[in-house]
């Protein structure tokens, strides 16, 4: 039986064939990998976060599996914006939107990165203001509402494509930060990045990750991500993209009910293989058919009473 539900969605002016997106940092550092994920059914691809200069990232161990999630501190490895152009250019013909994730230490860096991404032809830009473990970048920039607003508006006035702002749950008041992004004219909020966490090896008496502290993702953080999206939705009017522990169609629906117009999948790629995008699409369709929902927008935000 063909699904009745229409699972296309929009993130503001950006239409997506389906609401499943690849989250930044998972198999998205080279064109070939992104092509494969597109074939696996993703509605959009967010690239690895790219900076001005190449970065090797931290020494291994950079990623381990925990009981209920994944802990990583890759350290933002990336080839730098100039070399990354080659990868994006190879994806020019893709009908699936590519969203360029960028990180920087200040507005000037973000502007340069955003402009280069736009030149390469990406459909939108995602500002990573939330990496939980990279010194000088990410969270250290992204916990100050004022700075968030300045960076967002600076990028906005310098590019024409939509600008998304990715936020961290490691903040006292995530809705305040989301409001700052909105007032900086962000086109959408992405929430959440991973949660600061640690695993210590008892035999060796030391944190396992070389950076000691990492970002926690996967199943365990879903209730935290859903809460963040819900809180943000109560305070901003721009679209929200939900991320964090999404492994199934029902997880995706839960985020949408909390207020997400689309969702991203990171650790889920490990738990349910690369074709998790196809699987979740199908599960969303089946759920919508069973519960008589016709389109995604009928679900978005319904849990706000």
């Amino acid at each position: 039986m063909l699904p009745l539900a229409d699972i296309s969605t929009n993130i503001g002016s950006l239409p997506l064939k389906n609401p499943t997106m690849l989250a930044s940092g998972i198999m998205d550092e080279d064109a070939g990998s992104m092509k494969r994920i597109i074939k696996c059914g993703a509605g959009a691809i967010v690239t690895k976060s790219i900076g001005l200069q190449p970065r090797e990232g931290y020494p291994n161990p950079t990623l381990i599996e925990l009981e209920y999630g994944i802990l990583n501190a890759m350290g933002l490895p990336n080839p730098g914006i100039d070399e990354f152009g080659e990868e994006i250019l190879q994806l020019k013909k893709s009908k699936t939107p590519i969203i360029g994730s960028i990180y920087g230490a200040n507005a000037k860096e973000f502007i340069e990165l955003g402009q280069k991404m736009e030149d390469y032809g990406v459909s939108a830009i995602e500002l990573n203001l939330s990496c939980p473990h990279a010194k000088r970048y990410g969270l250290e920039v992204g916990s100050d509402p004022k700075l968030i607003q300045i960076i967002t508006s600076s990028v906005k006035v310098n590019v024409k494509i939509p600008v998304f702002v990715k936020l961290s749950p490691n903040a006292t008041n995530i809705s305040e930060i989301a409001k700052a992004a909105e007032s900086g004219n962000a086109d959408a909020i992405v929430a959440i990045n991973s949660v600061k966490a640690m695993k210590i090896d008892l035999d060796l008496k030391r944190p396992i990750l070389s950076n000691k502290i990492g970002g926690y993702s996967g199943r365990a953080i879903k209730p935290i991500g859903v809460r963040c999206v819900y809180e943000i939705a109560e305070h901003v009017d721009i679209p929200i993209i939900g991320v964090g522990g999404i492994l199934s169609g029902e997880d995706a629906i839960e985020y949408m009910m909390a207020g997400a117009s689309a969702i991203q999948i990171g650790a889920g790629v490990y738990y349910r293989e690369l074709d998790i995008f196809k699987k979740i699409k199908k599960e969303i369709e089946q759920w919508m058919d069973k519960h008589s929902y016709k389109k995604i927008s009928d679900i978005v935000g319904v849990a706000h009473l």
């Binding site: 080279d30 990583n72 490895p77």
Partner: protein
């Protein structure tokens, strides 16, 4: 769970200068061609092919080339390392008569496969290539298996003078093999692939971080993850991968030409 399990080194064996074998307890099954992530605490965690497969004990054989391998080289019996894995697909070991072509430490990766083939009553010819006589290892071990061993050295100090590929091309003309299995410098493997039409499998090395298919660091071609879809790829797949024998990526994801 994909988290390092701490274990004590059982034995350390010097193979030749700069090459050692380390064994450790590991009762779980491992296939020839698979690899472990070896954590040298405080230094790094690096991929290493299994080079010894026993019931409860497994081993790795490595060359000292940089920080992590040098630190590993210094470790002694009873010292602790972290192990996770095995990872990757391993070789497909079919056919009655198999040619193995190992260059450098590649022989370490092939050795358990050779032993497996012999145990399963197939026959094998193994070409061991090295720069010079002093760098050859595992000759005795493989001789004991009862396979035909052919040596090539770049300087002719032992066996055939020239590259392992030249020697392989020679022998492929003379003898009929069911397949060729190779591990060694990628450029060498690429030449070998281009010069034969029989079934082909090569073990690839790419910079690895997660080893569980998430980070994308090890990807080649159209998103083939060496850590999960490899490290062993067949000839047909490799012919469609532009990267093969041309470039790899460093820790930052930059292309590095071979």
């Amino acid at each position: 769970m994909n988290i390092p399990k701490i274990t004590k080194i059982l034995e350390v064996k010097n193979e030749v200068k700069d090459i050692k074998t380390i064994t450790f307890n590991h009762p779980e099954g491992v296939d020839p061609g698979q690899f472990f992530m070896i954590w040298i605490p405080g230094v790094d965690e690096i991929p290493m092919s299994v080079s010894y497969i026993d019931k409860d004990v497994k081993g790795i054989t490595f060359r000292k080339v940089g920080d992590a391998t040098s630190a590993l080289y210094k470790l002694k019996k009873e010292d602790r390392i972290g192990i996770r894995g095995p990872y990757g697909n391993g070789f497909e070991l079919q056919g009655n008569h198999i040619l193995f072509v190992g260059g450098g430490t590649g022989v370490a990766t092939l050795a358990p496969a050779v032993e497996y083939v012999v145990k399963n009553k197939s026959s094998a010819t193994v070409i061991i290539g090295a720069k010079t006589k002093n760098e050859l290892f595992f000759e005795d071990r493989l001789e004991k298996c009862g396979v035909t061993i052919l040596i090539s050295t770049d300087d002719g100090s032992k066996g055939f003078k020239g590259s392992a590929t030249d020697l392989a091309q020679d022998i492929l003309k003379k003898e009929n093999f069911d397949s060729v299995l190779t591990c060694g410098p990628e450029v060498m493997m690429k030449i070998l692939l281009d010069s034969t039409t029989i079934p082909f499998q090569a073990s690839l090395e790419r910079y690895m971080k997660c080893a569980i298919g998430l980070c994308g660091q090890c990807c080649i071609g159209e998103g083939l993850r060496v850590c999960i879809d490899g490290p062993i790829f067949d000839g047909k797949t490799l012919k469609n991968i532009q990267d093969f024998g041309v470039y790899r990526r460093d820790s930052a994801g930059r292309k590095v030409r071979f």
